[in-house]
Amino acid sequence: MGRPADPLAMSPSRPGRTRTAPPVMPAEFPAQGRYRSYMLFGACCVFFLLSSLLVLRVVDALATGPDAWDELLRQFRHPLYLAYNVAALAGFVFTARRFLFQLFAKSQPPRIGPFPRPPLAVFPPVLGAAWLAATALLFCILWGAFP
């Protein structure tokens, strides 16, 4: 048996005449077996929150001046920041993979206005190619390939 569910889960709006046993959650919920991937997906929102705050910090440093920017870059070399970046990258890749390759295609309705949905089989290779292209572009920018 799983842990208790909300006592009113799937109950009728008016109680019936028969006394019922309270509902229970699925046995493996929240973090075991088939729910693990779902919980990890949800947990990755922490990385989005923290990274958004980091972006605000970067913008603040840029607005403050060169000294603040240099100080920020110095702090970013701290091992804790580097470890966070590695963990955040893993989280973002996991989220993108689950969202783009499992959710995105089948979330498209059969028609969007006058346009029919492309075949579902088209989505993974197109999204994969777009992902690779974006990654390559980002690498080129970071590498200094563009003057």
């Binding site: 569910a5 889960a9 109950s11 028969t18 046993a21 699925p26 046995a27 309705p109």
Partner: protein, 249 residues
């Protein structure tokens, strides 16, 4: 009789007149290699313990009555082969539902949620009988056919973590059925249903565990229906500011 083999069944029991909470009872019975889980339950009911209560009807995965939790996973017991399991099989009622007795769950809440999405064709104005039937092309049928295959077995509700945490959540099957009618070319009630979808407990309660689609015995893919409905509910809301298409309201 040589192909009979003994298996142990750990079955959840609950008698509303005696028990405070469900308990388990163990049965060891001979089973045939080709038996489904439902066959074993029927054997126990007929030959071992007549007090066991479970729901079943068609025995061919059409009626959706025999949904239960088998070794922790929601399954149609008439479709689930015993040979897929080891020597011990645990059978319980569907998760997330109040239990009436043993393996029988309360359906009223489920039926209320179904009714909320108006799962029937809504028209602004009905055609007179002499005007003929509403015609539909194979392409128009294809747009929603997958979502019309639901047999209301409630396995998706038992697998969904949101259902157990948010009592107001419409749930996978109801939303899939509402979405099925929204996609139906004969229907004009999408504004009404999208209103329900956008409310508290509607489509945006879904956090995409995808378990509804994983356990669906008919490959309806309710998760796809819910996430399509999210998109279309927003489009419908945005369109309501600029135009008023012919609708029932």
């Amino acid at each position: 009789m040589s192909d009979l083999r003994k298996k142990t069944f750990v079955i959840t029991r609950f008698d509303p007149d005696k028990d405070e909470v469900p308990k388990t009872q163990t049965y060891q019975i001979p089973v045939r290699p080709d038996w489904k889980v439902l066959d074993a339950l029927n054997f126990i009911k007929d030959e071992v313990d007549g007090t066991l209560s479970h729901r079943w009807s068609c025995r061919m995965a059409v009626c959706g009555s025999c949904g239960m939790t088998v070794n922790g996973e929601p399954k149609l017991t008439c479709k689930t082969a015993l040979s897929d399991y080891g020597d011990t099989v645990a059978v319980g009622p569907l998760s997330n539902f109040p239990v009436i007795r043993d393996l029988v769950v309360e359906l009223e809440g489920f039926m209320e949620k179904f009714k909320a999405v108006k799962p029937w064709i809504l028209r602004a104005k009905e055609k007179a009988p002499e005007e003929g039937v509403y015609r539909q092309s194979p392409e128009q049928l294809e747009a929603f056919k997958q979502f019309s295959m639901c047999i209301n077995c409630m396995l998706c509700y038992a697998a969904c973590p949101v259902v157990g945490n948010e009592p107001d959540y419409l749930g996978p099957a109801a939303i899939a059925l509402g979405h099925r009618y929204n996609l139906d070319s004969r229907d004009e009630g999408d504004a009404e249903r999208n209103q329900v979808f956008r409310e508290e407990g509607g489509v945006y309660s879904c956090s995409y565990a995808n378990e509804c689609s994983e356990v669906c015995p008919k490959n309806v893919d309710p998760a796809a229906a819910i996430n399509q409905a999210k998109f279309l509910a927003v489009v419908d809301w945005a369109k309501s500011f600029v135009s008023s298409p012919p609708r029932r309201k």
